[in-house]
């Protein structure tokens, strides 16, 4: 058989065929609502975020300090052992300069780009990253390997959500040393 010799299905429609109603269509917006149980690990994670802290979980078998926290170690396949707070600072593993919103709509010319990043959190096992946003930095200044610190919402505005951290901002070496010294566990 050769594809070239076959009559292939698939009738292409232009977007104007929809707009001008050349074809019949029907619409549906499903009401797909959920209330997912946070469970032990994520429940505690969110509760600590509300307090302005990031908490991780340790597995004594593989000695990993895991973020986001989990009640079982997916590699050792056993329960994890204890909680530990980690820093609210980290290192940019990778980043993007996003001009597109979640639904593929474009950000307007006056809207600044979004800068999502994978941030390896200090105090967790090397490589333990989380997805979050960078802020207070121009797109041209972002670098892989740069040190960043969480910028938290005001305590009264926090709800126990990943968005209790507004974004991570760059830290200068001196400032970071001072902050680390003053930080309470």
């Amino acid at each position: 058989m050769k594809l070239e010799d076959c009559k292939l299905g698939g009738t292409h429609l232009k977007s104007s065929d929809f707009e001008k109603c050349k074809v019949l269509t029907t619409e549906w917006t499903p009401n797909l609502g959920y209330a997912w149980d946070n469970g032990v690990a994520i429940g505690r994670y969110l509760a600590e975020l509300k307090e302005g802290k990031i908490i991780a979980r340790i597995c004594h078998e593989c000695h990993r300090i895991m973020l986001p926290p989990r009640m079982f170690c997916e590699l050792c396949f056993r329960p994890t052992d204890e909680w530990t707070y980690v820093e609210d600072t980290g290192v940019v593993n990778t980043f993007s300069i996003a001009r597109v919103n979640w639904d593929a709509s474009r950000r307007g010319p006056k809207e600044p780009p979004l800068i999502p990043a994978v941030i390896e959190i200090d105090g967790a096992t090397k490589g333990m990253g989380i997805l979050h946003m960078l802020g207070e930095i121009g797109p041209d200044d972002v670098k892989i390997g740069m040190k960043v610190r969480a910028v938290w919402k005001k305590p009264e505005d926090r709800t126990g959500a990943i968005t209790d951290i507004l974004y991570f901002k760059p830290v200068r070496a001196a400032a970071s040393k001072k902050a680390a010294a003053g930080r309470k566990r």
Partner: protein, 387 residues
Amino acid sequence: MGMRKVAIVGAGITKFVRRAQETGKELSWQASKMALDSCGITLDDVDMVTLGTAPDAFDGVHMKGEYLADGAGAHRKPYMRHYVGGGTGVFSPIHGWMHVASGMADICLVVAEEKMSSCHPHPQGAFLTIFDHTTEQPLKPTLIWIFALEMNRYMQTYGISKADIARVSVKNKHNALDHPSAQVAEEITVEDVLASETLCWPVNRLDISPASDGAAAVVLASERVARRLTDKPIWIDGVGMSIDSAYWATRDLSYPRYVETAARMAYDMAGIKEPAKEIHIAEPYDPFDYKELHHMEGLMLCPRGEAARLTAEGYTARDGNLPICPSGGALGVGNPIAATGLMKVIEIFLQLRGEAGKRQVPGKPTCGLAQAWGDLMQMGTVIVLRS
């Protein structure tokens, strides 16, 4: 090890288009009917059917495997839907292989379908909810982020430029000019890619495959039946799949180790020791241009960090030493996710039979590979075919 041999004996495909008038059922039927006709059998001859299709949020039907059943030829037959996100299309013939190699079926129809255009205003919207609902979705991520993050890390690790990567898109869109199903085949230059709209740096519009509607199907048969149906059976000699942890942000994003794990499984089964020499032609998954390079490395078809250089040297062109995506891939033919993976398997099937028409690579290849990848950048599926 006494495993039953399984062959691909027939194939069918639709055009890949941005918006199809056909329902998903109708697209499935068009591809399946063509596959049955191509090997001269009827639906009566089919023992079992397996269907691959990616998320329900594209077609817009809960349990869409059930909805598509009649178009996929499942009427009153043993039928199930398998699913590994973007890796589904190459997993589809692996799932069919399980049906036949196990002895449960002599002929299994394998169908892959996607109708992404139902999802409005853009299928990207469906991808918000692939992220963890509690720890990631509140940040309103888009699928492109995760690719951009991975691409940036890959570029940084190996010192690869956007222009190096853009060559993949140029090559594949060019290759697709010869594919009758192609949606976005065109002659473009590296400059065109770099000048196209930046969506999420480093990803530009022409780095990305389009959203598509389409379907593909293959017929698998046991050795005895295959030899009766065709004098050119293409054997499934190795299959592999592997899924990494869902904690994607913890991974080394510069290297797809899940693809390597899957490839090792398939190579072991096929008795392949030196993939770069023994594989003559490959269709790695290329929804984004850097992904082809990433996957070539994961498949051990070249050393890590070398894929871009080889591409620049023409090594992966249709007339190169190791033709990669001679079909035109997802970047050129289009990307109705599950159907794309199966399109790649069909391309290897046709190439090994010498029936790829203008796309035929020189040198009579006898061993080829198709690979897909999916979920949260964590799933690798690999199939090794031999003539």
